[in-house]
């Protein structure tokens, strides 16, 4: 029961945050993918950086149990699936999580996206019996592999302290987030004089 209460708390928090950063807004997603409005890209990079630093700091100090980690396998399907997800993401402006949040925020197109998602997931469920014996499931880089040592999984970098490298990567991601401009491609935006109150 405790787990269910935590699920409600963490799920609501996550949904709220995704909505408040603009990730559930197809305009923000598509403008980001058109490399025009990088505001969301900055937020995502900073978010991964903050999460990673806290995670590795927590594990190094022993406050966080590394058994809570869950590293996903690497196989051909990750790349091919990522390519397909990229196409659908670019076409619709939603990914699975942001589609759920956008539907919750009252978007009808997001609700339609979720129905499409159920169909896609259902098709995969039916096709898995055939797909599992193809090259798509062939393991790469040893499967469940991390860049730095986390204790449970095999790591590519073994001679350096994992937490230090992870925290450096985290800081670098936040640094990149800080350097990236909020918007680019000014000439894409029509040249119109704005009323004073709309400038920011």
């Amino acid at each position: 029961m405790n787990d269910i209460l935590l699920a409600v708390f963490l799920g609501t928090l996550f949904g709220f945050v995704l909505q408040r950063i603009g990730a559930a807004d197809p305009d923000k997603i598509i403008s980001m993918l058109c490399l025009k409005d990088l505001h969301l890209m900055k937020t995502i990079l900073a978010g991964i950086g903050v999460a990673s630093i806290l995670l590795f700091a927590g594990m190094t100090t022993g406050l966080l149990d590394s058994g809570h980690l869950s590293v996903k396998s690497m196989y051909w399907g990750v790349v091919i699936g990522g390519i397909l997800l990229g196409i659908g993401w670019g076409v619709s402006g939603f990914c699975p999580g942001t589609g759920v949040v956008a539907a919750g925020s009252g978007r009808i197109d997001a609700l339609v996206f979720l129905f499409g998602g159920l169909v896609g997931a259902g098709l995969y469920t039916v096709m898995y019996g055939f797909l599992k014996s193809t090259f798509l499931m062939e393991s790469l880089f040893g499967g469940k592999t991390t860049l730095v040592q986390t204790g449970e999984y095999q790591a590519l970098l073994t001679s350096v302290p994992g937490w230090a490298v992870a925290i450096i990567i985290g800081v670098a991601l936040i640094g990149i987030a800080g350097i990236l401009p909020n918007t680019t491609g000014r000439k894409d935006i029509p040249r119109v004089v704005l009323p004073e109150r709309e400038r920011s």
Binding site: V17, C34, V50, V78, V79, G86, D109, L147
Partner: protein
């Protein structure tokens, strides 16, 4: 050029930047959400729950799809190979929808609804606009086309996410924060394709018209 005027479009672009959190607050809150989830339970993931939701619907039609099975690791098995994978892990979730991961995703709807209440522009009015500006600009205010693209997008996104074993949340965010190799490669593959796709569909043509 869609039916939306140039001034409207630019005002909306700027409103969209001011009505959401800035990247610093957003980055800290997003990072905290992912960190808290790992610290308290496990990394966030979403796309698996589409399989579970579909499985729950399927069992309404065919109750024998998922069955109790003492020999299975999870205690459940299924005639479907995917639901039966990893000792019937998904079969168990279908049989018991009140589990952490499924309730987590259901709660995200509520989070989106609460977030919507806080989404206001500078005049403190809630911004209500169903049709994305990027869509109006390229295709006009054709709602059916928008729904068609959303539906097709949904099919491809979830099929791809299941093949990849995760989506933007599970692979990209949760994966990269753990420095997982699959997370990095998934992110590269996704962005390398999503960017040209979005440009192909939605890049504004004003530059060509000038």
């Amino acid at each position: 050029m869609g039916s939306i005027g140039e001034v409207d479009e630019q005002l909306l672009t700027i409103r969209k930047q001011t009505m959401y959190w800035n990247w610093k607050i957003g980055g800290v809150m997003l990072g905290l959400s992912f960190f808290l989830a790992v610290a308290l339970i496990k990394p966030i993931g979403v796309s698996t729950q589409f399989v579970i939701a579909g499985g729950i619907m399927a069992t309404a039609v065919n109750p024998s799809l998922v069955q109790k099975d003492e020999k299975a690791k999870s205690g459940y098995s299924s005639s479907n190979a995917y639901l039966n994978k990893s000792g019937g892990k998904y079969a168990k979730a279908v049989a018991n929808p009140l589990n952490y991961s499924f309730v987590f995703v259901l709660s995200m709807f509520l989070g989106g609804l609460i977030g919507r209440i806080f989404t206001k522009n500078k005049q403190n009015k809630p911004v209500v606009r169903q049709m994305p500006v990027v869509h109006s600009r390229r295709f006009g205010n054709n709602a059916m086309l928008r729904y068609t693209l959303s539906f097709i997008g949904g099919v491809i996104v979830l099929w791809g996410a299941r093949l990849a074993g995760g989506c933007t949340s599970g692979h990209m965010m949760s994966g990269i924060m753990q420095t997982s190799v699959s997370g990095y490669l998934f992110a590269v593959a996704t962005f390398l394709v999503a960017i040209p796709t979005a440009l192909l569909f939605y890049k504004s043509r004003e530059a060509d018209n000038e």
